[in-house]
């Protein structure tokens, strides 16, 4: 453990920062200094002060508390969407790569369609048409995101499939699902996981973006994108409503991007820019 930290100082540092975010998300109810949910019109739109560090919003709720609660959703959405799209992509890619032929052609043509269209536009269309909700945001971004992983996993499966240990497993009579589960997936996982980690930050931005457009989380959920949308009309008089949620997104996304960059360097030391 100590050796690992000394060898990978940057990675350990970013991991610690990331754990701080996780800590904030888990202990939000205890960390929030004010009331994030109950509206109190007598306190509406107060500027940052000793009592409300980040000010209050149009319903008199404490902005800092709402930002702290917002960590929960942002983290949950970023991680769960990446897990879902990586899982779908891995399964489809592994099946296509392992079986080849018609199955491969149909699956990969499907992935090609998804990849030859700007994903953001499709995600906005899906989430918007189905109606703004957290479930639909997850659905929209997963539908758009799996294709990249299917392609990656397929090409790696093709490579692994030609290895001798797979041929040996086939000769020993191992079933197809065993081979995919025991031999193919473990071999391609490191690269898939690091690629997925690199996407967490971008997904968090997209989640906030959908909420900002009104196609994601709905009021009164404390969500950073939604808070920006609500604060937008008070830009002139209450700029703190815009400043703090945006900075939170920036900081959290930056930490995840730094962490995943250094994760890649740890897993694959050759690939250093």
């Amino acid at each position: 453990m100590k050796e690992f930290i000394q060898k990978h100082k940057l990675f350990s540092f970013y991991t610690a920062l990331m754990l701080v975010i996780v800590f904030i998300a888990i202990f939000a109810p205890w960390l929030a200094p004010g009331d994030a949910f109950t509206s109190d019109m007598s306190k509406a739109l107060q500027a940052p002060s000793a009592q409300h560090w980040f000010g209050t919003d149009k319903l008199g709720r404490d902005v800092l508390s709402r930002i702290i609660y917002g960590t929960q959703l942002s983290l949950f959405m970023g991680v769960s969407i990446v897990v879902i799209m990586v899982s779908i992509g891995t399964i489809i890619g592994a099946i296509a790569g392992y079986f080849g032929g018609k199955i491969e052609m149909v699956l990969m043509r499907f992935a090609d369609i998804m990849l030859s269209f700007p994903g953001v536009v499709l995600a906005i269309a899906i989430a918007g048409i189905l109606g703004g909700s957290i479930m639909n945001t997850i659905l929209a971004l997963s539908v758009v995101g799996w294709a990249k992983y299917a392609r990656l996993v397929r090409s790696m499966t093709l490579k692994v499939r030609g290895e001798e240990y797979v041929t040996a497993a086939v000769m020993m009579g191992a079933s197809t699902s065993t081979i995919i589960r025991r031999h193919i997936i473990p071999n391609i996982m490191p690269l898939v996981v690091t690629t997925g980690a690199l996407d967490i930050g971008a997904i968090m931005i997209e989640v906030a973006g959908l909420s900002f457009l009104g196609f994601g989380a709905q009021p009164p959920t404390p969500e950073w994108g939604l808070m920006l949308n609500e604060g937008r009309q008070y830009l002139q008089t209450s700029p703190w409503l815009m400043a703090f949620p945006g900075m939170s997104i920036l900081i959290v996304v930056a930490i995840f991007n730094l962490w995943s960059d250094s994760l890649r360097d740890v897993v694959d030391p050759k690939n250093q820019g």
Partner: protein
Amino acid sequence: MGKRFAKHLGQFIVTLFGITFLTFCLTYLAPGDPVTMLLETADTIVSQELIDETRAQLGLDKPFIVQYANWVVNAAHGDLGMSYSAKKPVVDRMLEALPGTVMLAGTALVFTLLYALPAGIISALNRNKWIDYLLRTASFVGVSMPSFWLGLVLIYIFGLKLGLVPIASSRVTPIGVILPAATLAVVVGSKYMRQVRLVILEEMQKDYVIGARARGVSEMKILFGHILPNAVLPLITILGVLIGWLLGGVAVVEMVFSWPGLGNMAVYAITMRDYPLIEGFVLWVALAYMCVNALVDASYVLLDPRLKRERA
């Protein structure tokens, strides 16, 4: 070359059908009824009779697959139907919004190139020096920043505090385009700058560069005579992807700035459940994106002598 073209055209058509069909399925599955939505906005009491009549008029009473087939046939004739919310043909509504988007995306592209190309090249040439760290940090912040937030910050600083630019123009003006274009350029350009840097770095490590340096060729000559010409192709490929980001990012940024373009129109169309208009927007994005990629492909043939020989 002909084969290559045919293959691309095939893929192009499959994608067009795939993406429009998917959107059609979505509008079919969606909760909420566009007909009641349409009539309710008219602020009158709506009878079932009127609903049924309008539904038949819009062709929404027909089976799903027939509706899609009708749409495809009409679209092939250049008729994308009537917009429910604008009460005029979808094509007309889109042509109104098109200049705004073209101007915004074009300006953003120019800004992006002006920022990302020099920054990426300077960063690569000064690898691991302070200017490299500075530019990389800047691009890193740009990548981690949501475009809509940057837009709000720029409106606050340059529009509200300094009063240099109009905050929200509902008309297309040369001054008004600067802030939204800069917003897009920061976000997209930061991604591109990192790619430019990597491409140049990779090219710099090739043998011919070391050879040229050993022969005493000046660094400037190596950069402009050797590295850049060789880096053009990968840079153009990445540019194609980047324009996809631009087309996507335009929707959010246009909304922030109330810029009268197609993206803003699409967001409004989605809120209004104006399905023909949404379908038209999706078709436009697909066509625009594919044209860009076709251009990227064509530029290979023009720029890469090896492919030119293949054609002959």
